[in-house]
Symmetry: C3
Subunit: 141 residues, 3 copies
């Protein structure tokens, strides 16, 4: 039987999650798909696009994103994932439920940036001292 | 006579304020006006729109926002309040003076997001272990 | 010989850097160029625009920004520098390597905000208890 702490040590958790998102999203924005997948647990689930089945496991995420990114192959677009307004709660059985706003900024040469607003619903866990995403579901505004 | 600390314990205050804004603004963005008002002190003052008198007390905030939100009744708009660049200082008599940038993202189906840039001038206080907004004044760019 | 810690105390560093960027960028956004320059070390280097040589030293930064801001003299524009997705690493010989996303929001009366997306590459150091920028290089998307 697991117990859930009623209150998080925000002083420790919060900056750690911010640092984690900063490095995780930069990997994605630099199109380092393998690096990005390695910030998920081995058994992770990642649902990023409505109507598309969630990717499962690290190798499944690599495969899914490689396929998904094909649409960007000829697109000189720099994406920037901004994550903020992070709401942390203790997760059942340990880990963190993290709900955060995400604004995707898409920049193309000589054009005004384009924005996509969404909400990330994450479960984050500590695996041998490393924070990892166990599950991520994105909802779009 | 109250004494004001010259330096804040940022490691404790800063993540706490970020977590507070995340939950507070999500209540507003989900149009839970009563929930949002409950993140203010009983005697709070909230001035959100130039030329409109500030709302006072929790019930006054509920009344004011219920009235204000009527203009959105038929508008399929999702608002997202992004708060960042938070500058914390100790407040006279305890509490925190928090000055922060706020970017309101307004998303309507099939349209590009619309943005409003403003600055929040808050006084935050701890009431029985809960962080609450005692006063909020918004200035618009 | 200096030693570099392999792991940062994020609970201390992270909020401190966020508070630092909040005050530093507000000075810039309020066009307090001298105040902004004082958040750099005496021997700092600041490269903010491609094709323009970096400014060096505090007085060099004041001179460079005074010159640079002339183009805004008749422009009723309010800039807001949003810094987020901060990635902190220990710097060689002490201090912090901070890599962060920066979104510059430019607001003009009656117009939609205009955005510029860039990445800040900073080295931050503690000088007698004050965090200061030793070097800043900006890359644009």
């Amino acid at each position: 039987m697991t117990t859930v702490p009623t209150q998080l040590d925000l002083g420790t958790c919060y900056p750690r999650v911010q640092q984690f998102y900063a490095t995780q999203m930069r990997l994605l924005d630099e199109r380092d798909i393998t690096g990005y997948a390695s910030t998920f647990t081995e058994d992770a689930e990642f649902a990023h696009t409505p109507g598309r089945p969630p990717a499962r496991t690290r190798s499944g995420i690599v495969e899914d994103l490689t396929d998904f990114h094909r649409r960007f192959a000829d697109d000189p677009m720099q994406r920037r994932h901004w994550v903020n307004m992070i709401d942390l709660k203790p997760a059942d059985g340990g880990g963190l439920v993290s709900t955060a706003y995400c604004l995707v900024v898409k920049v193309r040469p000589g054009k005004e940036p384009v924005f996509v607003s969404c909400v990330m619903h994450d479960v984050l866990v500590d695996v041998e001292g490393q924070l990892l995403t166990r599950s991520r579901h994105i909802t779009y505004d």
